[in-house]
């Protein structure tokens, strides 16, 4: 588990230009300083580089079929990117299943461009076509910035994914007995100095689900929601969740529906 060390907390404090006397009041002031540090960074969020690359990838003719993604249907009709992010995951009739953004991008890359979706799904994060998906995710998310989450729940499969996602959120397992809820079902909790959003509330789900994809300062990577969930399960000591698997999409529906009305700040910036 990645720990926020004292050294890193101090670095954050120093960067924010407000070194508090330690340890007096260190807990709240550190959290405040980190928040301030994030605000400063957000001004020049490196995620913008992924957004620019993603926009280029969206329009570029690529793959075995020499096609662009410009006719990809993200739920609002072929080629419509604006507003799509805040309505995903949702049901798609052509694949007859509920898909999140990453699952849907895989579908378009396969059907439009001729890539092998299963192979792309197996590629490690940050490599090859998986890295290209990460850029596409940043671009698509940026086109819904400041829009309110409004996932559809009219199709029975969408409601099924909400109900199963909620149960999966509370599913305990592994040698530590952890579930998502172990860390994310109460207000005001922390691991070390890291604040934990309560993902069972609209506010918490908005802050948690609503800020991925995000640029992570600690490792200089852009993480998508799939990557975030993957690392949560690693820390839960679970086996490896398959990319765009039903569990990950169901969690996306549960969190996205819970966040309804919250404004998307993705792609955000994280420590």
């Amino acid at each position: 588990m990645k720990r926020l060390t004292l050294a890193r907390a101090c670095a954050a404090l120093a960067a924010a230009g407000s070194i508090a006397s330690l340890p007096a009041a260190a807990q709240t002031s550190t959290a405040d300083a980190i928040a301030e540090y994030r605000t400063m960074l957000a001004d020049g969020n490196p995620a913008d580089l992924w957004v620019a690359k993603g926009e280029e990838l969206w329009k570029k003719v690529r793959g075995p079929k020499n096609a662009s993604m410009a006719r990809c249907d993200l739920g609002r009709g072929p080629g419509v990117v604006k507003g799509a992010f805040v309505e995903l995951p949702r049901y798609f009739s052509d694949t007859a299943r509920v898909q999140d953004l990453e699952s849907r991008l895989l579908t378009c890359m396969e059907t439009l461009q001729g890539f092998n979706a299963a192979e792309v799904a197996k590629t490690p994060f940050g490599r090859g076509e998986k890295a290209n998906i990460e850029s596409l995710v940043a671009y698509v998310a940026s086109e819904s910035r400041d829009m309110a989450f409004n996932l559809p729940q009219s199709h029975p499969d969408e409601r099924t994914m909400y109900e199963t996602g909620k149960r999966i959120f509370f599913y305990r397992g592994g040698p530590y007995d952890f579930s998502c809820a172990s860390c994310h079902a109460s207000d005001g909790k922390r691991i070390r100095l890291q604040d934990l959003p309560n993902l069972t509330t609209q506010k918490g789900a908005g802050a948690g689900f609503g800020s991925w994809p995000a640029y992570r300062v600690s490792n200089g990577q852009l993480w998508t929601m799939q990557h975030r969930l993957n690392d949560c399960y690693r820390q839960q000591r679970f086996p490896f969740p398959e990319y765009a698997s039903e569990v990950t999409v169901a969690l996306g529906v549960y969190l996205g529906v819970t966040a309804r009305g919250a404004e998307s700040i993705a792609p955000a910036i994280k420590r």
Binding site: E163, D177, S245
Partner: protein, 216 residues
């Protein structure tokens, strides 16, 4: 995830919808979301490193503690009794080890993930969730503060017979926290062999030794 499984879920949902839309039919039973979620848990993961698929097979306690609401007291009492029966005292008879080694363990949040070396010892993960010594300000708040754990409980000498009950309770809590609170968030460090006897003894010393920084 397999296409077959996608289809099976879609088929179940479609069948349920068909029943609902058949007005003349008797009221359809609500879809069994518990069963569907369990099925997804079995098909959405793959083994990686030391994290094998047996980790998504729940034991009865994990199953009972997997919802937004706690199970009724009649259930938790039974679960706690079962867990209490799993607790084994140290084979050596020695409960207290070295607090300095215990401190290192309390700081260490590694262990048992698919990216950890299987042969490496796990850490105790204590500071992830608990305040312990005042000198460490980077602590989590999922669990209660354990600052002055031994001192507040009147343990002046863990070897003293008068301290035996508190010493044994603390051992039990580290060994299997669920024996005292069925759906506690705390892992069962001894029961699931996350920590070995020596490591548990060292953590006991970190909590109970009057010389430990926890008790200053």
């Amino acid at each position: 995830m397999t296409l077959k499984h996608h289809l099976s879920i879609a088929a179940v949902a479609t069948a349920a919808a068909a029943v609902v839309s058949g007005c003349a039919a008797p009221r359809a039973p609500a879809p069994d979301y518990d069963k569907m979620a369990d099925a997804m848990m079995k098909t959405s993961f793959r083994a990686q490193g030391q994290a094998k698929m047996d980790r998504v097979q729940q034991d009865p306690l994990q199953d009972a503690c997997s919802s937004a609401t706690a199970p009724p007291e009649s259930v938790t009492k039974k679960l706690e009794a079962t867990q209490l029966a799993t607790i084994k005292p140290p084979a050596s008879g020695q409960y207290i080890g070295d607090w300095k080694s215990g401190e290192k363990l309390a700081e260490n949040g590694r262990g048992m993930t698919w990216s950890d070396k299987p042969e490496a010892d796990s850490g105790g993960n204590c500071y992830n969730c608990h305040e312990l010594a005042k000198s460490q300000i980077s602590y989590g708040t999922i669990g209660p503060s354990l600052y002055r754990y031994g001192k507040l409980r009147g343990v002046q000498n863990p070897a003293d017979p008068g301290s035996a009950a508190m010493v044994q309770y603390t051992w039990g809590k580290l060994y299997n926290a669920k024996a005292y609170s069925a759906c506690s968030e705390m892992p069962r460090f001894g029961h699931f062999k996350v920590l070995n006897e020596k490591q548990l003894q060292d953590l006991m010393a970190y909590l109970l030794d009057p010389k430990s920084p926890v008790n200053q």
